[in-house]
Symmetry: C2
Subunit: 126 residues, 2 copies
């Protein structure tokens, strides 16, 4: 279901190392082929561009007011529990239009991802 | 197939935040239930214990001389391309018995994990 005001940002940690960034770009390109008209972007928390803030501001400028943020992280530590929520609060307060920014739990905490990793490790080990 | 001299270390980045560490412990406990007598341990690259170095030294003391290191990372950046290989070299050189330490590619680069993440994201977005 495509929505004209709703967008999703895949949020990766970020790194200065292009070797670290490349697999996220590949993953993102693959995903984009299956999401049709629904707007999906990739952004980084730190050390790489586009930053989360720049991406939200760009989407807001284009009229997207409801933005889901889906972290490509294994777990939620200080970054996702404190830094990012604080950043989202600041962006929301500074925005000239009302924005609904929803930070979801990291993909690594989804049972299907944890199970896929478990299966892989068990196969490797045994 | 269980081997008396072979062990596997699941390597996570590490964090000072117990909320970040917890899902790795849960994942590890789940894996342990399916690996029988094969020795599998969890260790951290930094900021948490057991460290990779301490874990390798412990396993070596117990007679494990062939140790596979399987990174629970999404991608290989500076840490897995430089820091960890250098650390493994140092450990190998300092060891009193010959150790075979093999650093595998991060689980996030395995097609089945990337596909599981893609499926999850596509389902969420569309």
């Amino acid at each position: 279901m495509s929505s004209a005001t709703k967008a999703t940002i895949l949020l990766a940690h970020g790194s200065t190392d292009p070797n670290w960034l490349a697999p996220f770009c590949t993953l993102y390109e693959g995903i984009r082929q299956h999401t049709g008209e629904q707007r999906v972007e990739l952004a980084y928390m730190e050390l790489a561009e586009p930053s989360l803030q720049n991406m939200i501001e760009q989407l807001a400028t284009e009229g997207f007011t409801e933005i889901d943020i889906l972290p490509l992280f294994f777990a939620a530590g200080r970054h996702l529990r404190k830094d990012v929520p604080r950043q989202l609060e600041d962006i929301q307060q500074a925005a000239t239009v009302p924005l609904t920014l929803t930070l979801h739990q990291p993909v690594g905490l989804e049972p299907e991802i944890a199970e896929a990793i478990s299966r892989l490790v068990i196969r490797r080990v045994t």
